[in-house]
């Protein structure tokens, strides 16, 4: 199976490319990147052919494309790949505008090809175990959730409003909202968001505290802020979720499986994960879905729903009042 990666703008591209190397019968054939130096280097590192324009890559004998460009470019690349008859794994958030997201989902439907959203948290073993326990009714009925997806200021295009479509709230809301939707089987009905720029001297939001209500009545809070100290915090951030049910409470700390390393020359403590790699499991599942012709665990529709919540949060913060999401 031949794969292309469209742009190494998003750092997850490196992890996905490494994962592809570990999958039998899968080859990373082409790297397309309009940043010549970055693209050439990545192509060389992973043994792929480099092209500057992704349109040229579409002429190659490919099976699927991984889109890891700047958020605002997901739509054009994804739609072009689907229309060329290729399956797509698209980095989150699906798009920066909801119309773009709809176009992508429609294109997958028309081309009868897979559009999977890169929601690796569904492949994080502790998060998946919690899903299994909830499905077994262990916590009873879910009543409330409180989650975090903290991070650091990623810089680069992530803090460019046009390319990223938003800051921390755009970047980090969707992972946890996706887990919450997966766990509850319900959609977000209403959001209230306080959003600001309070940690870094940047022209985009790095601070968000969100309050959500689901259609089934579950209430939830979420902190997607880039609030972890840049140098001294021992890891990139976190994914945590408290789930309160009628029969009990579970705390998920999805990256708790780590060693702590204090390295003299690093000048800071570091967490070194030893748990299963969710990116590898996600890529494995993407390939398996293509081979078996089965729908992905997280689809374009899921990406659209999560991004709709992030966009509604910006709207709520602008208006300083709760905003309803119409399905």
């Amino acid at each position: 199976m031949n794969i292309a990666i469209f742009s190494f703008a998003h750092m997850h591209a490196y992890s996905y490319a490494r994962s592809l190397k570990d999958l039998p019968g899968v080859t990373l054939k082409v790297v397309a990147d309009d940043d010549v130096e970055r693209g050439r280097q990545a192509a060389e590192t992973f043994g792929a052919r480099y092209v500057r324009d992704y349109q040229d890559a579409l002429k190659e004998p490919l099976d699927a494309v991984i889109v890891t460009s700047e958020n605002s470019r997901h739509a054009e690349m994804t739609v072009a790949a689907l229309q060329a008859g290729l399956h797509v794994l698209c980095e989150k958030p699906i798009a920066t505008r909801i119309e773009d997201g709809h176009r992508m989902v429609q294109a997958a439907h028309d081309a009868k090809k897979l559009l999977q959203m890169a929601f690796p948290m569904r492949y994080n073993i502790p998060a998946a175990r919690l899903k299994q326990q909830l499905d077994q009714g262990r916590l009873g009925r879910i009543l409330l959730m409180n989650g975090t997806n903290h991070g650091k200021n990623p810089g680069g295009w992530f803090i460019d409003p046009v390319l990223a479509g938003g800051g921390a709230v755009m970047d980090h809301t969707v992972h946890i909202v996706d887990l919450m939707r997966w766990y509850t089987g319900s959609e977000v009905r209403e959001v209230y968001a306080e959003i600001d720029t309070r940690f870094h001297p940047i022209g985009i939001d790095d601070t968000g505290l969100l309050t959500l209500e689901f259609e089934n009545g579950v209430i939830a809070a979420l902190d997607p802020s880039w609030s972890r100290p840049q140098r001294s915090f021992p890891t990139w951030g976190d994914v945590t979720l408290e789930v309160v049910g009628t029969e009990g409470v579970t705390h998920l700390d999805a990256f708790a499986q780590h060693l702590v390393l204090y390295k003299e020359i690093a000048g800071q403590a570091q967490h070194l994960g030893w748990g299963d790699d969710p990116d590898l499991r996600m890529l494995e599942s993407f390939i398996a879905c293509i081979r078996a012709g089965t729908p992905p665990l997280a689809s374009g529709h899921d990406g659209l729903q999560a991004t709709q919540v992030a966009l509604a949060c910006y709207e709520s913060a602008r208006l300083a009042r709760p905003v309803k999401i119409s399905q």
């Binding site: 502790p126 175990r129 262990r138 916590l139 009990g248 708790a256 060693l259 390393l261 030893w274 499991r281």
Partner: protein, 325 residues
């Protein structure tokens, strides 16, 4: 451990679990029925009635040699829970029997299949931590329940030093090579009737010094921890730290009654990874991650620790020179 291994075997597609052997007919019936595997009252009957390639021995340690020799004599490969035996003489006899039968004897030092220990070893071997100075380990909790309280009988389990701390001894030798000398104290060796709690000091031939702590004297729970300190860095881990999943369940009708359930799930359990590896070794003649000699050497250190507890003196490992090096 038999339960854990039975579950792990059933998760390995290349293996078929064809028989369970136990002297307890009730246990055989319940477990056998729940997993759909026939039970046998003794090894001889099982060997006669089912076609089998591997015997996996999860007996109390004092019964290892007899079972291993019988299985090897019948031409079967043997997987044996740690410790390989209670004495070096018995351990050597098992290894020799395997050599004579041209069959594998593989010892269940499962720590080598725990991700966190693998990661720690990698950081030692790739020199991330620089020259290693000290290692501190902890393992233990409340007193383990076993068949006829066999853990409490030194003639059956060989005491905590042999039964529990052998895990850490093997892991440390996997990282740092042979042990030069040991010195150890224990509560049971100190106060008559006390639950066992051991403090052992290990000096490695390669230089590092380790303090290994093990206990069966805690009021509840079980956990393990380690710290490895080098000239360029330090790592630590404690399984008692809050893990990825921590659940509090309401229990019964009382307002404040609850059960706490911590979990740290991985896709493939260390036990399954271990048995799958052993199967690979047996079927493809691959090199084992842990050899029978490793099992023998870990036992030698465990016994030296026990001897030091009894004598109050440092014990040099046999065949190696002592001194300040």
């Amino acid at each position: 451990m038999g339960f854990v291994h039975a579950q792990a075997w059933q998760a390995i597609p290349e293996a078929q679990l064809v028989g369970l052997v136990d002297t307890d007919p009730n246990l055989l019936k319940t477990l056998g029925e729940s997993i759909g595997v026939s039970g046998f009252p003794n090894l001889d009957t099982a060997l006669r009635e089912v076609d089998v390639d591997i015997i996996d021995i999860c007996l109390p340690t004092h019964l290892h040699r007899e079972a291993a020799e019988a299985a090897l004599a019948a031409g079967k490969h043997v997987i044996c829970e740690k410790p390989l035996a209670l004495s070096l003489k018995d351990a050597r006899a098992i290894i020799d029997a395997a050599a004579a039968a041209k069959k594998q004897i593989l010892v269940g030092h499962v720590l080598r299949f725990f991700r966190v220990y693998q990661k720690a070893r990698q950081l030692v071997l790739d020199h991330t931590l620089g020259q290693i100075g000290t290692i501190k380990t902890f393992r233990g909790g409340s007193y383990p329940k076993g068949w006829h309280d066999w853990y409490g009988d030194p003639a059956k389990s060989g005491t905590l030093a042999t039964d529990l701390l052998i895990h850490d001894f093997d892991f440390l030798m996997w990282c740092f090579g042979p042990v030069e000398r040991v010195y150890a104290k224990s509560l049971a060796g100190h106060i008559t009737g006390a639950a066992d709690h051991v403090l052992a000091s290990l000096r490695f031939k390669s230089g590092p010094i380790a303090h290994v702590e093990g206990t069966w004297a805690y009021p509840k729970g079980f956990s393990y921890a380690f710290e490895i300190a080098g000239a360029d860095g330090l790592i630590h881990f404690d399984s008692a730290d809050k893990g990825p999943i921590h659940t509090l369940l309401r229990s019964g009708s009382e307002r404040n009654a609850s059960v706490e359930v911590p979990e740290s799930p991985v896709e493939i359990s260390p036990y399954q990874a271990e048995l799958a590896h052993f199967l690979e070794v047996i079927t493809h003649d691959a090199l084992p991650v842990v050899t029978a000699e490793d099992g023998y050497n870990a036992l030698a250190v465990s016994l030296a620790v026990r001897d030091s507890i009894q004598s109050g003196e440092p014990v040099l490992l046999p065949g190696r020179t002592g001194g300040e090096s």
